[in-house]
C-alpha cells in the first residue's frame, strides 16, 4: 500500500548574496498539517526527495496563529501566512518561495525592516505626556474604536506590499500599510493633535501621491484591513492640508 505523502517544492537561498535554487521534499501525510508543520517535519529529518542530509529549510515564525505576521511567504504563487495554510486546502505539490519585495536573509526568511522604518517615518504613535497616572483616556464612540481596531490589527506582515505594483525593492514608496497607520493615529483624539506631522511625512517622495490605486493591496491583506479606504482617506487629508497650507500662506 502506498502511503499518502505531501510534496513540497521550495525555493532556497543560502545567504543574501548567493543564488537561489530549488529543492523538492516529500513527507508522510498527517491530518491537520499546515505548511509550518511540513517545514517542522523537514527539520526533523532534513532530506530532499533524492538527497539525504541537506540543511533544514529556514523560515520565520512565532505565534503560529496568524497574529504576529512572521511566517509570510509565497505559497503556490500567492503571498500569505504559512501557519494558516492548511495542507488539506491547498494544491499539491506545495510551492514555497520567499517574498520577492524584501531582501532574502536565508531560504524563506526575509528582512522586512523597511516596514518598521516606514512606521517610524510616519510617526505611528500617540504622543503622551508620560506614563504617570493622568486619569482616564479620552471618551470615544465605540464606532470610532471599531474603525481604529480594524486598522490596528495590521501585523506588519507585508502581504499588501508584496502585491503592490508600486512597491519595489529599490524605490522608497511607503506602501499601503504605513498609510493606513497614519489614518489609525489621526483618528485618535490625542493622536489627531499631531495629524499634520504625519501627513507631511506621506506628502513627499514615496508618499501617497505615488499610489497608482491598483487596489492589489487590499485583496492581499489577510486581516481584511480596508486599505483602499485608508488610502482614499489619507489622500483627502493630504489634499485638505495642501489647500489649508496654501490659504494660510
Amino acid at each position: 500500500m502506498s502511503q499518502k505523502t505531501i510534496k513540497l517544492k521550495i525555493k532556497r537561498q543560502d545567504n543574501p548574496r548567493s543564488k537561489p535554487y530549488w529543492q523538492e521534499f516529500e513527507i508522510p501525510y498527517q491530518p491537520l498539517s499546515n505548511v509550518i508543520s511540513c517545514l517542522q517535519d523537514i527539520q526533523k529529518s532534513p532530506a530532499t526527495a533524492n538527497e539525504l542530509g541537506v540543511n533544514p529549510v529556514i523560515w520565520d515564525c512565532s505565534c503560529l496563529e496568524e497574529v504576529c505576521g512572521s511566517c509570510t511567504m509565497i505559497i503556490n504563487g500567492r503571498v500569505r501566512q504559512a501557519c494558516t495554510a492548511l495542507v488539506d486546502q491547498i494544491e499539491s505539490p506545495i510551492v514555497l518561495e520567499p517574498m520577492s519585495k524584501f531582501p532574502v536573509v536565508r531560504d524563506l526568511m526575509v528582512d522586512r525592516n523597511r516596514m518598521f522604518r516606514a512606521l517610524k517615518k510616519v510617526k505611528a504613535w500617540v504622543d503622551i505626556d508620560g506614563s504617570q497616572d493622568l486619569g482616564e483616556g479620552p471618551i470615544m464612540a465605540d464606532s470610532v474604536r471599531a474603525t481604529r481596531y480594524t486598522l490596528s490589527e495590521c501585523m506588519t506582515c507585508g502581504c499588501c506590499l508584496e502585491a503592490c505594483p508600486q512597491y519595489t525593492k529599490d524605490n522608497s514608496f511607503l506602501g499601503a500599510a504605513a498609510f493606513s497607520q497614519v489614518r489609525l493615529f489621526n483618528l485618535h483624539p490625542t493622536g489627531a493633535m499631531h495629524a499634520d506631522e504625519r501627513l507631511e511625512e506621506v506628502m513627499g517622495k514615496g508618499g501617497i501621491a505615488d499610489c497608482g490605486n491598483a487596489q492589489a493591496c487590499v485583496e492581499a491583506c489577510p486581516k481584511n484591513i480596508p486599505l483602499t479606504d485608508s488610502i482614499a482617506d489619507i489622500s483627502r487629508q493630504t489634499s485638505l492640508k495642501l489647500l489649508k497650507d496654501l490659504l494660510l500662506k
Partner: protein, 647 residues
C-alpha cells in the same frame, strides 16, 4: 560634569520588556538596549486574546481593587506573594487608563467609556478587552511608544539577536550580557549597569502548548544555571480550551465562555451524532451542574481537571476522542461576530468549521508557567511596595532582574485569566525606578570591571557554540525536543502521581544521554538557527528537571498541581468562612469541640497541617547538574489562607 547616562539592557520585546523600556526611557536617565529574537511586534504577547484585568467597576457591580486582590490570591491557592499582588491590583486601573491614553482600541460602552467583560475565577466584569486580540493591541501601543523613543535616540533595538547569558564578575554581580547575532552568528558582550530578563514563559518544554515557538524558557534557565533561584517551577497552567493542531494547539480564549459559551459532552458514551442533533436532555453540561455558582467560568485548573475527568475517567469524550464541546450556537451571529469575531475566525481558519453554526471541539493544553525566576521586593513601613527600591524584581543574582511571565510571584499556584497581561505591564513599569536607583549605585563601579570579565565570557560562549556546531551524533535536535515534550505531556500534566513523576524524572537522564549524541543538522555559517536551538534544548532539559522534581517533591494538591493522592477531600457542604471562624477561635484560645461539624473540623485540621508544611514557595537551585529544591515562606500577611471553593 554631567553624569553619564545609565546603561540598561532589556531582553525581550513582549509586554514586560516594552513596559520596562518605556518607564526607563521616560526618566531620561538611561540608554536602553532592547534585545529580542524577532521584531518586537512579533513577540509572543501578541497571542493573548481575551483581555486584561482591572477593577474599575464601570458597571457599578461593587468591584474594587481589594476584590481583585482577593480573587487573585484565592485563584492562586494562596501561593502568590500578597504585598506584590495587592500593589498590582491597586495599580491596575491606572495601567488600563494609561494604555487607553496610548491609543489601545479598547472596546467601549455606548457612552464611550471602557467596556468590561467577565473572565474566570471572579463574579465581576473586570476584564478590559480590545476585540479578540488584546495582547496584540497592547504590544503594538507599547511598541509605538518605544518607536518614538527610538526616533528620539533613547533606545537601541537589537532584534534578531539572542541573549545567551549574563556576564558575571568575580563577585557574581551581573555586569552585562552575552549576545548572539542570529544572522552573522557572531557572539559579543554588552556592558550594562543592569540587565532585565523579560523573556517570557517556557511552554515549549511541553509538546502540546498554546505558546509561540520562541517560548523555550532558555534565558531564565540559563540564569538559573548561573546561580539564580528558580521558583515554583512545578506550577504549569493547563488551559482547558485549546483547538487540536499539529504544529501548535491554538487557544480558544476564555472569553468564549465569558460571553456565554457552554461546555458539554453527550451523555451517552461514544455518541457520534452531529452535535446539533443531540437534544438538550441528552447533553451533560458538567461544569454548570457541578459548579452552579461559577458554572463554565470556574478557574482554569478546575475546568481542566473536570474535562480530564469526563474524558478519561468517565469516557465521555466526543465520539470516544479526547475532546469536549464548547458551544456558542445559542447566541446570535451578530453578537458573536461583534464580541468574539477574531477568535472564532481563528477556529474556522484552523479547522474549517464555523463555531457560529456548530459547537467547537476543544481540549486542554499547556498554557502558562506560574513559576519562574525568583525575584525580590521591598515594602515600606505601611507594607506597600517601596517604589524606588533597587530590590524590586531583582533576581538572586545582583544586577540581574526579571519581569513578566519569566518571574514567579504574582499568580501563585494558578493564574486567573487576563491577569498575566496585567502582571507583565505592572512588573515592567514597577521595576523601572528601582532599576534606575540600582544603576545609579553601581554606575561608577561598572567602569572598573576588568575587561577580562567580558573577554572570558565571550571566549566561553564562542567556544561553546563552536563545539555545538561541530556536533555530529545521531540525534536530530528537533526530534529530541519533540520527544522530551511528549514525555512531559504524558507524565507531568494535569493529574500527577509520584510513581509516574519518579519515572519521568529518571527518564530525563536518558534525554541528557541522547543530547550528547546530537547532530548539528545545519552546516550553514549564516543565519543558522540550529546551534541556538541545540543550546536552548539543553536549557529545556534542565528546566524539565526543575518542573518534574518540583512536582515530585510537592506532596499536596494546590492549584494547578493536582495529586489526587493528597487531595484533602473538602466536605461538600463546607463553607470557607468556617475556616476563618476556626482561626479566630484558635486565636482567642480554644476551639470548642461542638463549634463545627466533626467532618468539617477534621478537614480544617488537615487543611491547616497541610498549609504549615506546603504553603511555601519552592526554590530550585542548580547544584551538580541537578535542581536542589528548598522551600521558602510566602508572605500571607494580608489575607488568611483558606480553602478554595467555587460552587
Amino acid at each position: 560634569m554631567a553624569q553619564r547616562k545609565k546603561k540598561i539592557i532589556i531582553v525581550g520585546g513582549g509586554l514586560a520588556g516594552l513596559s520596562a523600556a518605556m518607564k526607563i526611557c521616560e526618566s531620561d536617565q538611561a540608554e536602553v538596549t532592547l534585545v529580542a529574537y524577532q521584531s518586537l511586534k512579533r513577540s509572543h504577547s501578541v497571542c493573548a486574546q481575551g483581555g486584561i484585568n482591572a477593577a474599575i467597576d464601570s458597571k457599578g457591580e461593587g468591584d474594587s481593587p481589594d476584590n481583585h486582590f482577593y480573587d487573585t490570591i484565592k485563584g492562586g491557592d494562596f501561593l502568590a506573594e500578597q504585598p506584590l499582588v495587592r500593589d498590582m491590583c491597586y495599580k491596575a486601573p491606572a495601567i488600563i487608563h494609561l494604555m487607553d491614553r496610548m491609543g489601545v482600541a479598547f472596546n467601549r460602552t455606548p457612552e464611550g467609556h471602557l467596556a468590561f467583560r467577565r473572565f474566570g475565577g471572579t463574579l465581576y466584569s473586570r476584564t478590559a478587552f480590545s476585540g479578540a486580540t488584546t495582547g496584540q493591541q497592547l504590544v503594538y501601543s507599547l511598541d509605538e511608544q518605544i518607536r518614538k523613543y527610538e526616533h528620539d535616540g533613547l533606545v537601541q533595538k537589537m532584534v534578531w539577536h539572542e541573549y545567551l547569558g549574563a556576564v558575571l564578575d568575580s563577585k557574581g554581580v551581573c555586569r552585562g550580557a552575552i549576545i548572539h547575532d542570529l544572522r552573522t552568528n557572531e557572539i559579543f558582550t554588552l556592558a550594562g549597569d543592569a540587565v532585565i530578563l523579560a523573556t517570557g514563559g517556557p511552554s515549549q518544554v511541553y509538546a502540546g502548548s498554546t505558546a509561540s515557538t520562541v517560548n523555550t524558557g532558555a534565558a531564565a534557565t540559563m540564569a538559573y544555571m548561573q546561580g539564580a533561584k528558580y521558583a515554583n517551577g512545578e506550577f504549569i497552567q493547563i488551559h482547558p480550551t485549546a483547538i487540536p493542531g499539529r504544529d501548535k494547539l491554538r487557544l480558544m480564549s476564555e472569553s468564549a465562555r465569558g460571553e456565554g459559551g457552554r461546555i458539554w459532552v453527550p451523555k451517552r458514551e461514544g455518541d457520534t451524532r452531529d452535535p446539533l442533533k443531540i437534544p438538550e436532555m441528552e447533553r451533560y453540561y458538567f461544569l454548570e451542574e457541578k459548579y452552579p455558582l461559577f458554572g463554565n467560568l470556574v478557574p482554569r485548573d478546575v475546568a481542566s481537571r473536570e474535562i480530564y475527568d469526563v474524558v478519561y475517567n468517565q469516557n465521555l469524550g466526543i465520539g470516544g476522542q479526547s475532546m469536549v464541546y464548547l458551544d456558542l450556537t445559542h447566541k446570535s451571529k451578530e453578537f458573536l461576530q461583534d464580541r468574539l469575531g477574531g477568535i472564532l475566525d481563528i477556529y474556522k481558519k484552523f479547522t474549517g468549521d464555523d463555531p457560529k453554526l456548530t459547537p467547537m471541539k476543544i481540549f486542554p493544553a499547556v498554557h502558562y508557567s506560574m513559576g519562574g525566576l525568583w525575584t525580590d521586593y521591598e515594602t515600606d513601613s505601611a507594607g506597600m511596595i517601596e517604589p524606588k527600591s533597587p530590590r524590586n524584581q531583582m533576581t538572586s543574582i545582583q544586577g540581574l532582574y526579571a519581569a513578566g511571565e519569566a518571574d514567579c510571584h504574582y499568580h501563585g499556584a494558578n493564574r486567573l485569566g487576563a491577569n498575566s497581561l496585567l502582571s507583565c505591564i505592572y512588573t515592567g513599569l514597577m521595576m523601572g525606578p528601582g532599576v534606575l536607583s540600582y544603576a545609579a549605585q553601581v554606575s561608577k563601579s561598572t567602569e572598573d570591571v576588568p575587561s577580562s570579565v567580558f573577554d572570558d565570557a565571550k571566549s566561553y560562549w564562542t567556544g561553546r557554540f563552536k563545539s555545538i556546531s561541530q556536533l555530529n551524533g545521531r540525534e536530530n535536535p528537533y526530534k529530541l525536543h519533540r520527544d522530551l515534550g511528549e514525555m512531559m505531556m504524558a507524565n507531568v500534566l494535569i493529574v500527577r502521581d509520584n510513581k509516574t513523576l519518579e519515572k519521568a524524572f529518571n527518564s530525563i537522564s536518558d534525554f541528557e544521554t541522547r543530547f550528547k549524541d546530537v547532530k548539528c543538522v545545519d552546516s550553514n555559517d549564516w543565519a543558522n538557527p540550529t546551534p541556538s536551538f541545540i543550546n536552548q534544548l539543553y536549557c529545556m532539559i534542565q528546566l524539565s528537571k526543575i518542573i518534574t522534581k518540583g512536582a515530585l517533591m510537592r506532596d499536596e494538591f494546590r492549584g494547578a498541581h493536582y495529586k489526587p493522592e493528597f487531595d484533602l477531600k473538602q466536605p461538600s457542604d463546607f463553607d470557607p468562612h468556617e475556616y476563618i471562624h476556626y482561626q479566630e477561635q484558635k486565636n482567642f484560645g480554644e476551639v470548642k469541640d461542638d463549634a463545627f461539624p466533626k467532618s468539617h473540623l477534621d478537614y480544617m485540621k488537615r487543611f491547616e497541617a497541610n498549609n504549615n508544611k506546603w504553603l511555601k514557595t519552592s526554590i530550585a537551585q542548580f547544584e551538580d547538574n541537578q535542581p536542589n529544591i528548598t522551600y521558602a515562606d510566602v508572605n500571607t500577611s494580608l489575607m488568611i489562607p483558606r480553602p478554595r471553593k467555587y460552587d
